[in-house]
């Protein structure tokens, strides 16, 4: 009969908390957005599904062995755990807190207690640690993205790098907004959390996940969902801002045809970039290093099989694990927090400010240069490759059906990827010192 009780106590309904049920609905909603509405399905399908799995009560898929041990709260185990953590046992919540605050040695001791009592890390917890906590998965995806990126339009018109720089203003303005909310007492974001929220404005999924996993892993679920959702919403978010900040004449500006870029320039560019990173900004080395490696493999022409694998088998495998790992942070106790609402609001503000900054920078550059720039391509500086460049093209065609801006917009678009990787490096470096 003990076995029957075990089975019943293990059943989902017995344990289901309203938060978990709500988060399962959120997971189903993300799947709906991904499948029916086409919101970044490659990421949101595994994220949404991972969110459902993470909220299955009693399964503990997103929990570490110690958290699982504390969840079931057997008295003997609790006593041993408390001893390992060097606290006196009052209730599971307090043990959990002690565990999260523990130094490495106490952490190891607690894991040993959990192991001795046959508690194991949940599947999603393992995926999270291997894929994200290590930083590996976002970096490998960045390598694959590098292998898919053509820097030709950027090399043909390097000035567009300034547009990619300006659009990063969305990141830092949002950081300021987040700390402002904290100062006003509306929210309670630390500077690290503010930095992680700001990176949503980089409009670049792997960069956002990388930074967040370093600075504020507790917010990873909300930030990743916001980043990918808003990237999917770029065709709705950007056009009103672009039109509000430009005159019809500006939108009709025709740009001069791009020059042809030689293969050797394309080969040299990632090497030049990584050497500059080495000399000037080591904190951006992991992200930009892997990005440049991917791009070099693409362009050098002698390692096609590696480039092909980086763009296909490897990035696909990593994407599945990355998505499930992000989904593990959609566990109710982590996601259902007032901060999530703040993140969703600040994230869209970041996109809007970045878009505006890119457009305004293009207008500013037009004042100082005789080579005309259509300000609509400025909005592509937020990255969101290649969606933002397509939006620039589409809005441009509305103003002048003969004006094709797509290739011109690809320059600031990939510049935005570099820009937000630089911003990520700066923030990780500076915030660690705060």
């Amino acid at each position: 009969m003990d076995a029957l009780l075990t089975l019943w106590r293990d059943s989902g309904i017995f344990h289901m908390q309203s938060g978990q049920f709500f988060m399962i609905l959120v997971g189903v909603g993300l799947l709906f957005l991904a499948i029916r509405k086409g919101f970044e399905p490659l990421l949101l399908v595994p994220i949404g599904f991972g969110g459902i799995l993470a909220n299955i009560p009693g399964a503990g898929l997103a929990m570490s062995s110690v958290e699982n041990a504390i969840y079931f709260a057997k008295p003997a185990v609790m006593a041993a755990m408390a001893a390992a953590l060097g606290v006196t046992y009052e209730d599971p919540a307090q043990l959990l807190e002690a565990y999260h605050a523990a130094d490495a040695a106490a952490h190891v001791a607690a894991v040993q207690v959990a192991t001795d009592n046959n508690y194991a890390d949940g599947m999603l917890y393992v995926f999270y640690n291997v894929a994200i906590a290590s930083g590996i998965a976002p970096l490998l995806i960045f390598m694959g993205v590098g292998a898919m990126t053509d820097f030709g339009p950027l090399l043909a018109n390097p000035r567009t790098l300034f547009l990619g720089a300006a659009a990063q203003f969305g990141i830092f303005a949002t950081v300021l907004g987040a700390v402002g909310l904290s100062a006003l007492g509306v929210m309670d974001f630390s500077i690290k959390e503010a930095a992680a929220i700001g990176i949503i404005g980089g409009a670049d999924g792997p960069t956002a996940i990388y930074v967040t996993s370093m600075l504020a892993p507790n917010l990873l679920g909300a930030i990743a969902v916001a980043a990918y959702s808003y990237m999917a919403l770029v065709p709705l978010i950007q056009p009103p801002i672009m039109k509000a900040l430009t005159t019809p004449e500006e939108r009709k500006i025709k740009m001069v045809q791009l020059r042809q870029v030689s293969v050797r320039e394309k080969i040299a560019f990632p090497i030049v970039l990584v050497v500059l990173v080495a000399l000037v900004l080591p904190s951006a080395a992991p992200l930009l290093g892997m990005f440049c490696l991917g791009n070099l493999m693409r362009e050098c022409g002698v390692v096609e099989r590696l480039s092909d694998t980086a763009q296909n088998a490897l990035i696909n495998i990593v994407t599945i694990f990355l998505g499930l790992s992000v989904g593990s942070k959609l566990a109710a106790d982590k996601f259902l927090d007032p901060k999530t609402l703040g993140i969703l609001i600040l994230g869209i503000v970041a996109f809007c400010i970045g878009t505006a900054a890119g457009v305004l920078m293009a207008k500013l550059m037009n004042k100082f240069s005789k080579m005309p720039i259509n300000p609509l391509i400025g909005s592509a500086g937020v990255s969101a490759v290649p969606m933002a460049a397509r939006v620039s093209n589409k809005v441009g065609l509305e103003a002048n059906p003969q004006n094709f801006l797509l290739m011109h917009a690809m320059g600031p678009n990939v510049a935005g990827v570099i820009g937000s990787a630089v911003a990520a490096g700066v923030m990780i470096s500076m915030v660690s010192g705060m």
């Binding site: 970044e40 490659l42 990421l43 995806i141 960045f142 993205v145 990126t149 053509d150 030709g152 950027l154 090399l155 043909a156 390097p158 000035r159 300034f162 990619g164 720089a165 990063q168 830092f172 950081v175 300021l176 700390v179 402002g180 904290s182 100062a183 007492g185 630390s190 500077i191 670049d204 792997p206 791009l258 020059r259 042809q260 870029v261 030689s262 050797r264 394309k266 040299a268 560019f269 030049v272 970039l273 500059l276 000037v280 900004l281 763009q311 990035i315 290649p386 004006n403 094709f404 797509l406 290739m407 690809m410 510049a415 570099i418 820009g419 911003a423 700066v426 923030m427 915030v431 705060m434």
Partner: protein, 109 residues
């Protein structure tokens, strides 16, 4: 200082936890922290945007120099890579071919 919080933990605890009419302005400690986080945010913005612009400016310069050097010292005998510029009428068909990989795939990131 006479009022040593370390020696009067209960008072200290009381002061921190009890709300006070003067609110956030009363406790210099809290106030400092708030100033501090805003200040940190401003620092982050100024130096962050500064670094982004400085780095990308250097990159623009380096790219121009690099393109010049490659063009001068390593001109390609063979025909160049796929042209980047596009004629208006062909855009939709051509660009789909050119950025086809990127379109579906960067989304994976």
């Amino acid at each position: 200082m006479i009022l040593n919080f370390e020696e009067f933990p209960e008072i200290w605890f009381h002061m921190r936890r009890q709300p006070h009419p003067a609110g956030q302005y009363f406790y210099s400690g809290d106030r400092q922290m708030q100033e501090s986080i805003v200040q940190q945010g401003v620092d982050l913005m100024l130096f962050g945007m500064g670094t982004v612009f400085v780095f990308l400016t250097i990159l623009v310069i380096a790219t121009v120099i690099m393109s010049g050097l490659v063009g001068r010292f390593f001109p390609e005998a063979e025909k160049p890579a796929a042209p980047v510029a596009v004629a208006p009428g062909q855009v939709d068909a051509r660009t789909r071919a050119i950025i086809k990989a990127a379109i579906d795939k960067h989304r994976a990131g």
